[in-house]
């Protein structure tokens, strides 16, 4: 868990620090006005004291408390430090009324405790929301747990804060009657600002903590998912490669197979999907590469769902690939497919020796029938284009659309 440390410019990016500094400044101003307005010039020393001490609280102790709050072990210190300072300040400025000081201290303590309780409750809720977000919709629907439990801690915290407010009013009340409306406003302002000084960091800290834990959880889940996949795929292949190190053909085949699978996974195709035409074409290429020692470069643009017509196209492509692998051994084979809902074209080209279409041996005609006949059977077409010495291309098309001119 990283903690923001360093100079003010960096701290300024921390929302909790910003909130603390602003409330601190407000409090300082309010207190200064209150002290100066009530007693005039003799109390200038007190104003100076407040001006010296409060920025320390606002700028250093506040953010420190927020940081400490983020580290669960240091929470008591974080609460105790600003509390001590505030109490000392109150004692210094209000020495003549001992009873009031004690009451105010109790009120302050209660308010702090209440805010901590409210913050903890909010934090727990944020955390639960994070766990919920990490779940699948199905899990979210089916998991039964006390998500909507009554917020006991939150309510107790709010009650404590309210009680502290009442107590403060009781202490300040007698003085208020004597003073004017302006003094009441100032006292209220100071009280609210003090509350905000302590409360805002606590609340912001709780929210930030919840966010961070949610993020960490998501990262960990993702890491485990990637690790699981790598374990089943890459590590598995690597161990096979080590065992078959003496067989270069097998090693090359394993590497090629794994490379293709990894690429598909990185591109967001988790596995070769068998329910789309593009997935089926990739699977067929892989199958032929496994059977015959051939390297096929396949690029598929677009996709469509696999149906009977698509099955025929895939079958014809398989025959064309096997043909290319057998008759153009060692030459490169390129498969290019343009797929759309209203048509599909697949080209299988090898840079092999080629043949003269007019002088085809009968057994090869049989293979041609397996390709041409299959396509014709579903209303598509297949053309075989070959020139001796220039390679062979089999073009498979579904529907009348001519992909070449589109």
């Amino acid at each position: 868990m990283s903690v923001v440390r360093g100079g003010a410019p960096q701290r300024w990016h921390d929302p909790a620090w910003r909130a603390t500094a602003m409330t601190g400044a407000t409090l300082l101003a309010a207190l200064g006005i209150a002290l100066a307005a009530r007693d005039g010039a003799p109390r200038l020393a007190a104003v100076a004291l407040a001006a010296g001490v409060l920025p320390v609280i606002a700028g250093v102790l506040g953010p420190g408390a927020v940081r400490a709050l983020r580290e669960p072990g240091r929470r008591p210190i974080a609460v105790a430090l600003p509390l001590t300072i505030v109490l000392a300040l109150v004692v210094v400025t209000r020495m003549e009324r001992q009873r009031d000081v004690v009451l105010l201290a109790i009120a302050l303590l209660s308010a702090l405790g209440g805010l901590v309780l409210v913050g903890a409750d909010l934090h727990q809720r944020a955390q639960r929301a994070g766990h919920r977000a990490g779940r699948s919709p199905w899990q979210q629907m089916t998991t039964t747990e006390r998500m909507r439990a009554f917020p006991w801690r939150g309510v107790v915290g709010a009650l404590l804060v309210a009680w502290a407010a009442l107590l403060s009013l009781g202490v300040v009340g007698p003085h208020v009657r004597a003073a004017g409306v302006g003094s009441i406003a100032i006292v209220l302002l100071v009280g609210l600002a003090g509350l905000a000084l302590v409360g805002v960091p606590v609340l912001v800290g709780a929210a930030a903590r919840g966010d961070r834990e949610r993020l960490a959880q998501a990262r960990e889940d993702e890491r485990q998912r990637v690790a699981a996949h790598l374990h089943d795929s890459v590590l598995q292949t690597l161990s096979l490669v080590q065992r078959q190190a003496s067989d270069p053909v097998a090693v090359a085949r394993l590497a090629r197979h794994q490379e293709r699978a990894l690429r598909a996974w990185m591109a967001g195709r988790p596995e070769l999907r068998s329910d789309t035409l593009a997935g089926a074409l990739h699977a067929v290429v892989e199958e032929v590469e496994r059977e015959e020692t051939v390297d096929v470069e396949v690029t598929v643009i677009g996709d469509r769902m696999l149906d009977d017509v698509g099955d025929a196209l895939v079958g014809a492509a398989r025959e064309a690939l096997r043909n290319a692998a057998r008759h153009a051994a060692g030459a490169s084979v390129v498969v290019f497919a343009e797929l759309a809902a209203d048509g599909a074209s697949v080209w299988v080209r090898d840079a092999g020796p080629g043949f003269d279409a007019a002088a085809v041996a009968p057994e090869r005609r049989g293979v041609r029938d397996a390709i041409v006949g299959r396509m014709a059977g579903v209303g598509g077409s297949a053309t075989i284009d070959s020139t001796p010495g220039e390679g062979t291309e089999v073009a498979l098309r579904l529907s009348a659309a001519d992909g070449e001119r589109r």
């Binding site: 690429r263 470069e297 390129v334 290019f336 080209w347 291309e393 992909g403 001119r405």
Partner: protein, 220 residues
Amino acid sequence: MSRCRVVLVDDHALFRAGVRAELAGTCEIVGEAATPAEAIAAIVASAPDVVLLDVHLPDGGGQAVLEAFRGIAPAPAFLALSVSDAPEDVVPMVRAGARGYVTKTIDAAALIDAIERVRHGDAYFSPRLAAFVLQAFSAPEQQRADDELDQLTPREREVLHHLARGYPYKQIGVRLGISPRTVETHVGAVLRKLQLSSRHEASHWATSRGLLGADPGADA
């Protein structure tokens, strides 16, 4: 013909060693670099004919190197090289100024062919790159910018289509009844359109053509 002078930019020393061994007979490796800064220094120092440029480098990737030499007159020809063949890697590199793109699984003969091609000022489109470019220019009518530059002529489309199907230039010429040189001209024109149609940012360009953000893995 003099031996081609090549600078090799890749952050994997092992891969550089492999390429150096493969090219030993045909090219002269005049510099090597592992980061964009090193690459720029090496290119300036040795003035090579061709730079083999890895896409994924620390500190800005291959695109940082391409940007540094954009618009500079005696710049070398860049051939992008990557393990990735994803469109979001391929297309931005070509748009940033690479004259070709090959994957690292390419065999030595094809790599040398590609180097020679870009060295002489031509473009090198592997079948897969040609397919991606074809797809990029085939976006639905309403998404396409009404810029003349963003359109391919029917002939350019045909040439690209044949490249995607794995035909070499010579055979494309024969099939279309044009000279191999004319085929090269068409491919060069496609490359120019790809690089000049920069009215929008490259990413926007790619997104609007369905090259980016289409796969569910991209938004992670």
